[in-house]
Symmetry: C2
Subunit: 342 residues, 2 copies
């Protein structure tokens, strides 16, 4: 009996005919001991009690935008000061952008420029809130960064964000060679990074020399195993019941969610520039990050993957004092340095 039952453990023999849905029992998720104290505080945050409250009217969406952005902006002065970065609002081709500049631009980065695309489910994170990840990249990587404050609902809908990104790109090409520029961003910003490359390919415009799509919202159709496996494990997005997918749908404005310019996992990634992807083991978008990594590799693209221990969605861009934040942006900076011309 023992022999027979234990023989079923880890058996490498042929699979049973049909897979089955399974129920995963409730269990305790302790604060991990193998991450920094800063990261323990972040991954140990409780699930927001009203995570599944979704705005029902434009007024409620705007209220959410304001509350979200205010909380992000609050942390900015400290981040800028610690990382020795200045932020300056500008216009490029009619689009609001923020020039995010470190006190010390690395000598090899003098003729290089990074374009940053903020996250926030295509609806949140605009205005100065756009810059938080750009500040980390500029300060840690010693690059000049342009963070694009692309239009979002209710001001404008799909494909307004992409139109703004392409306009900024055309403008950037007047001052910088494409092979000295890279594009990066997380979550919706990771998806927009991929969508922007798809769009530049369509338009026959020069592509950036490298990209860093962080934990991209690469599939809005609900496919991706970690939507189930990491539900309530991730304390940021929590589950598909949060406001994030509805926000993306608000942006999509009735457009087919399978359009590669909304769900880039369905796009043709042949010819893409080298890419470095970042996620965490608890990330609700872990699957959609690794699926994107696989799709890039299958298209012959040089693609690197970093998965950080115990991190939920985009936890690597929360606290600039966490060593993991420096590892994440340090790896991206080195990847860009390897692939951008000087």
């Amino acid at each position: 009996m023992l022999k027979k039952s234990l023989g079923t453990i880890m058996v490498l023999a042929a699979a049973v005919a049909i897979g089955q849905d399974r129920t995963v029992p409730a269990r305790i998720l302790p604060v991990p001991t193998d991450v920094s104290p800063q990261m323990q505080a972040i991954v140990g945050r409780p699930i927001p009690p009203n995570f599944d409250v979704v705005p029902q009217t434009i007024a409620e969406w705007v209220a959410l935008q304001e509350a979200y952005n205010a909380s992000v902006v609050q942390a900015l002065p400290g981040q800028e000061q610690r990382l020795h970065v200045t932020v300056e609002e500008r216009r490029m081709a009619g689009v609001t952008v923020f020039a995010v500049t470190p006190d010390r631009v690395a000598p090899e980065n003098r003729d290089r420029l990074l374009i940053h695309i903020h996250g926030g489910c295509y609806v949140l994170g605009g205005g100065l809130a756009a810059t938080t990840e750009a500040v980390m990249m500029a300060g840690i990587g010693h690059y000049k960064v342009i963070s694009v404050d692309y239009r979002m609902p209710p001001v404008a809908y799909f494909p307004a964000a992409l139109d703004d990104l392409v306009a900024v790109w055309r403008e950037a090409l007047k001052g910088y060679r494409a092979d000295r520029m890279a594009v990066f961003g997380s979550s919706a910003g990771g998806a927009l990074t991929l969508e922007m490359v798809l769009r530049l390919k369509e338009l026959g415009l020069p592509l950036p020399a490298a990209i860093a799509p962080g934990t991209p919202m690469s599939d809005l159709t609900g496919v991706g195993d970690s939507f189930a496996a990491n539900a309530f494990v991730d304390n940021v997005l929590v589950s598909r019941a949060s406001a994030c997918d509805p926000a993306a749908q608000l942006y999509a404005h009735g457009h087919d969610l399978k359009d590669p310019l909304l769900s880039p996992i369905f796009g043709d990634m042949h010819g893409f520039p080298p890419a470095i992807l970042t996620t965490g083991t608890r990330d609700l978008l872990l699957s959609n990050t690794v699926r994107t990594h696989r799709k890039l590799k299958d298209a012959g693209v040089e693609a690197e993957l970093n998965v950080f221990e115990a991190m939920s969605h985009a936890n690597y861009s929360v606290d600039d004092t966490a060593p993991e934040t420096h590892q994440a942006f340090g790896d991206i900076a080195r990847f860009f340095d390897k692939h951008l011309d000087k």
Copy 2:
């Protein structure tokens, strides 16, 4: 109220002071739709009902070895036939090995040799069962492979496995240059791959030109967030209550589990050869794979990471007809081709 509660979602502001343990509720884990039918069958297997039955006597361990190995060996003839590989038992420096040879060795691989270290929690998977992953590597990558049937309990205990691996390595060095050899293996075999390099460093012996530690048991002390996060999500190892950790402790034979030759995460990885690591999003050892990847990178080692959608522990070496199996071993083969001299 809506404004205040929703503002807590995805807030990027400073962390709360102290992290908290959390309870993850029970939930349904559907069969993923974005993997091959073969992989759906594998990841959709039910949890083995007696997964947590642990042998209590040597006789029960031996019974488990026999049951496990028999089920693995059953699948071998079909695998060898489909992949056009032959397996031949030999002795090298007194150690039993299996020469696993594809009908067609790629021209660039004529003077190259791979050493394979089987998994099985340091106790299971010996004899012919050792060869299953070697067959896939030989057949998919067109490399010559030596799979080492290292001694295990109750025949011998720590550090017998390492002694055997080093003896085989010394013997292999008589016929092949170190810069034309690589070492690979999964689970305990992934840990032993890392431990072998640590041991070769200690001994001042030449190192392999590349390694591929698959989902390594790199930490036997219980640290690793996915032990909790992927408990009952992984249908292979299931949880730390399975027989796998007790098996490793049986091998350790009272030795300190923090010894880097048992838990290589505690070892000094400076000077390691380039490494490619493989795991899956549902893997109980997801964390210990990504922690190893990070540790290698922090030591300045070129290290690549592949995380396969929805796979539990070492699911990539189950079914040689699954396209994901070909992706996993194909990537390892290309990585070796890049790093091994011709």
